[in-house]
C-alpha cells in the first residue's frame, strides 16, 4: 500500500516535470513528423523524374516520337539535348544527369532489325537505385508506328500482395513506427536517472524510503502513455499524408505498441543506471540505433542477411515489433497469429526492467 502510493508519487512527479519540459514535447511531436516526412517523401524507391540527357543522332520522326513517349512515362525528365555520345558521358560523369539516352544515326533501321539494339541507355551505376531503373526502362512498353512491333515477352509476372501499387511509404511506415518509438522512448529514460544524478536529486531520493523498484517503475509509467500518444500521432500522419492503412485490429496494434514501448523504456532506464553523464546516455542510445535500423529488416530484407546479423537482429526488440506492425497494418494479421513476437517483447521489457532496478543500487559507491 505504502509502496503503491510512493510509486504514484514518483509518477506524478515525472508527469509534472515532463509537462514543463518543452524539449520533451518537441520530441513527442517533432520527431515523428520530421521522420515520417523525411522517410515518406525522400526515401522513395519508386523512382521518377530521373534527370536525363538525350543525344539524338538520328533526328528522325521515329526518334522524336520515341523521346516524346519516354518523357511521357515520367520515369525520365529530359533536361538536356546534346549532339554526341561523348557529351552524354561528360554530363553523366559530372553528375548533372543520371541517365543518358543515345540514339544512333541509324535508329530507324535498327528498330526494324530484331537482332540489334535500337537505343543505348547510359545510367549512373554509382547509385544502386538508379542502376536498378535501367531494367525498368528496358521494359517500358513503347509502341512504334513501324512495321515491326516488339512485343515484350513476359515469363514471370510479379504481383505485390498487400501493397499492389508498391508505394514506398506503405512499406516504410510500419517499420518507421518502430524506429521513432525506439529513438524517443529510449532517449527519454536513458537520461532519466543520470539527469537526476547530475542535478543532485538522486542523493536526496535514495535517502528516502522509496525503493529502487518503485523509482524505476514510477519513472517508466508516464512515458508509456506518452509513447502511445506518439504512436497515435504517427498513425494519423501516415494516414493523412500517405494513406498508410491499418488493415488489422487497431487494438492489437496499440497493444503491441504498448509492450514495445515498455521494452524500450526499460532498456533506456538500464542504460541510465550504467552511465555517468547524460552525454554518455545519448551516445549509448545512438549506438543502439544503428544496428536497430540496419539489422531489423527495416531497411534490408531480414532473410537476406548473413546468419550472424540475423541473430543480432533477433535480439533487438525492434525486429519483432516491425514484424508485428507489418503483420497487423498490412497483412491484416491478428496478434494471436504472431504471439511469439509479442511474448519476446514482453520478456525483454521484464528482464531489462529488473536489470535496471538491480543495477540501480541505493548507494553512491
Amino acid at each position: 500500500m505504502k509502496s503503491l502510493s510512493r510509486l504514484m508519487a514518483v509518477t506524478r512527479k515525472e508527469v509534472r516535470q515532463m509537462r514543463r519540459d518543452r524539449l520533451t514535447f518537441a520530441m513527442i511531436f517533432g520527431i515523428p513528423l520530421m521522420q515520417i516526412i523525411l522517410f515518406g517523401y525522400a526515401i522513395n524507391t519508386d523512382v521518377r523524374n530521373l534527370r536525363t540527357a538525350v543525344a539524338d543522332e538520328a533526328n528522325t520522326h521515329l526518334s522524336h516520337d520515341f523521346v516524346a513517349q519516354l518523357n511521357a512515362t515520367q520515369v525520365t525528365d529530359i533536361r538536356e539535348r546534346v549532339n554526341t555520345v561523348a557529351q552524354l558521358e561528360d554530363l553523366l560523369r559530372s553528375g548533372e544527369v543520371s541517365v543518358g539516352i543515345a540514339i544512333p544515326p541509324d535508329f530507324d533501321r535498327r528498330v526494324a532489325d530484331e537482332t540489334r539494339a535500337a537505343v543505348h541507355i547510359l545510367v549512373d551505376g554509382s547509385d544502386p537505385t538508379i542502376a536498378g531503373i535501367a531494367d525498368a526502362l528496358r521494359n517500358l512498353p513503347l509502341g512504334f508506328d513501324t512495321a515491326v512491333q516488339r512485343q515484350p515477352t513476359e515469363l514471370i509476372e510479379v504481383r505485390a500482395y498487400y501493397n499492389p501499387e508498391r508505394r514506398t511509404p506503405v512499406n516504410i511506415i510500419p517499420g518507421l513506427i518502430g524506429v521513432i518509438l525506439m529513438m524517443t522512448m529510449m532517449m527519454f529514460t536513458a537520461v532519466a536517472v543520470v539527469r537526476e544524478r547530475e542535478r543532485g536529486n538522486l542523493e536526496l531520493l535514495i535517502n528516502t524510503p522509496v525503493t529502487s523498484a518503485e523509482l524505476m517503475v514510477g519513472k517508466v509509467l508516464p512515458y508509456i502513455f506518452l509513447g502511445l500518444v506518439q504512436l497515435a500521432v504517427i498513425l494519423t500522419v501516415g494516414k493523412l499524408l500517405f494513406a498508410v492503412p491499418v488493415r488489422g485490429s487497431i487494438v492489437d496494434l496499440y497493444l503491441a505498441g504498448c509492450v514495445y514501448i515498455a521494452a524500450n523504456l526499460a532498456l533506456g532506464l538500464f542504460f541510465s543506471t550504467a552511465v555517468k553523464s547524460q552525454f554518455q546516455a545519448i551516445q549509448l542510445t545512438f549506438f543502439m540505433m544503428l544496428p536497430s535500423i540496419l539489422l531489423s529488416g527495416f531497411v534490408f530484407p531480414f532473410d537476406g542477411m548473413p546468419e550472424a546479423a540475423r541473430w543480432i537482429g533477433e535480439v533487438l526488440p525492434i525486429t519483432h515489433f516491425i514484424r508485428l506492425t507489418r503483420g497487423i497494418m498490412l497483412r491484416e494479421a491478428g496478434l494471436g497469429e504472431m504471439v511469439g513476437e509479442l511474448v519476446y517483447l514482453g520478456a525483454f521489457a521484464v528482464v531489462a526492467m529488473t536489470a535496471a532496478a538491480l543495477r540501480f543500487s541505493k548507494r553512491l559507491d
Binding site: K2, S5, R6, M8, A9, V10, R12, K13, R16, Q17, R20, D21, R199, G200, N201, L202, E203, L204, L205, I206, N207, T208, P209, V210, K362, R363, L364, D365
Partner: protein, 313 residues
C-alpha cells in the same frame, strides 16, 4: 548499545582508490543535541555523513545510527533520518509546494495529515509567500529553508546537515540556527558540518576534522580551554614587520594576522612566552602592545591542525 547516543562510530574509514578520505573516525553523538563537524574543504565531512546515512559503504570500521548498524540495515533507518545534501538537491522545475508534497508522499505521511503538515512547514520555514514559486528560481536562503523543511517534514529523530549554510547570507544563517535550536529542543539530534568558526561555536559538541582524521572533539568551551597553547595578542603599528620578527622565534607555533592585530600561538610548555615576544619586538625596534588572550575557536582550529613538525614541542 548506548541508548543515550544517536550515533556511535568506531574506526570508521573510507578509501577512494589510494586516497583515504576518512581515517579511523571515532564518534559519539549524544541524542537531542547539535553536533558539529568542523573542517576545511576536502577534510572528509561529506564522506562521513554519507557513510552514516548508508549512502557509502565504509572501507573499515563500524557505525551504529539510532541503534541500527549501517550500512547493513540502512533501509529501516531511512524513515527516521532527514538529510540535507551539500548541493541543493530538490527539484528546480517544481514549485515549493510541489516539492514538499512529493517528499511528504515519499515518506508516506497519511493524506489526512499531509496538507496540515505542509502548511506547518511552510509557516515554520517562512516559505508561505514562495509556495507557488519554482524552487530553481529562489534565493540561496530560500532554497536552504526549503531543503531544511523537506528534511524535517517527516519529523526525523536524526537530522544530518551537510554544510547547510555555505550559500546564504549572515541573517539567513542566524535564522537557520534558530530553527536548529528549536528542533534540538524538541528532541531531534542534529549533526551539522561547517567550515565557519562562528557556527561551530554554537554547537553543543564538536569534532574537528583534518585530512579525514578527527584531531579534536569536545564542547567548544572545553576545546578553547585546553589548546595547550598560550595565545598572545600583539597590537602593532607595523603588523607586517612585527609578524616577520615574531616568526623568527623557534618557539612560535603560528602567527595569524587579523586586521592590525596578530595572534601568536606558543606552546604552554615554553616559559615566559609573553616576555620573549616583547624582547624580540624590542630587538627589532618595533613598538607594540602585547597581552595574553583567551583562545578563540579559530585558535583551537589552528592549534589542532598544525603539521607534526610545527607541533613538535
Amino acid at each position: 548499545m548506548n541508548a543515550e547516543l544517536a550515533i556511535r562510530a568506531r574506526g570508521l574509514s573510507k578509501d577512494f582508490g589510494s586516497l583515504r578520505a576518512v581515517d579511523r573516525l571515532d564518534l559519539d553523538v549524544p541524542r537531542a543535541s547539535i553536533y558539529g563537524f568542523l573542517g576545511p574543504n576536502g577534510s572528509g565531512k561529506s564522506t562521513t555523513i554519507r557513510m552514516l546515512c548508508g549512502l557509502l559503504t565504509p572501507s573499515e570500521g563500524s557505525a551504529s545510527v539510532l541503534g541500527v548498524d549501517v550500512p547493513g540495515d540502512s533501509g529501516n533507518l531511512k524513515p527516521r533520518i532527514g538529510y540535507m545534501t551539500q548541493k541543493f538537491s530538490l527539484f528546480g522545475d517544481m514549485t515549493v509546494f510541489e516539492n514538499l508534497q512529493f517528499i511528504a508522499e515519499i515518506y508516506s505521511i497519511p493524506a489526512s495529515r499531509r496538507a496540515a503538515r505542509i502548511d506547518e512547514v511552510l509557516e515554520h520555514y517562512d516559505l508561505v509567500e514562495q509556495r507557488g514559486q519554482f524552487a530553481g528560481t529562489m534565493s540561496g536562503g530560500q532554497k536552504q529553508r526549503l531543503a531544511l523543511g523537506c528534511a524535517v517534514i517527516h519529523k526525523p529523530e536524526l537530522l544530518l546537515l551537510d554544510e547547510p549554510t555555505s550559500a546564504v547570507d549572515p541573517q539567513s544563517r542566524r535564522d537557520f540556527w534558530a530553527n536548529l535550536f528549536r528542533l534540538a529542543q524538541a528532541g531531534t539530534t542534529i549533526l551539522v558540518s561547517t567550515h565557519y568558526m562562528d557556527e561551530a561555536e554554537r554547537c553543543h559538541r564538536l569534532a574537528i576534522l583534518d585530512h579525514g582524521a578527527k584531531v579534536a572533539d569536545g564542547a567548544p568551551g572545553d576545546l578553547q580551554r585546553s589548546t595547550g597553547m598560550n595565545i598572545i595578542e600583539v597590537l602593532a603599528d607595523d603588523p607586517y614587520h612585527a609578524q616577520t620578527a615574531i616568526s623568527t622565534m623557534p618557539a612560535v607555533a603560528s602567527v595569524t594576522q587579523l586586521g592590525i592585530r596578530l595572534r601568536v600561538l606558543i606552546p604552554e610548555t615554553i616559559p615566559d612566552a609573553l616576555d620573549q615576544v616583547q624582547a624580540v619586538l624590542a630587538d627589532h625596534g618595533i613598538s607594540a602592545d602585547t597581552r595574553l588572550s583567551g583562545a578563540s575557536l579559530e585558535d583551537v582550529f589552528v592549534a589542532v591542525t598544525l603539521g607534526p613538525e610545527e607541533r613538535a614541542e
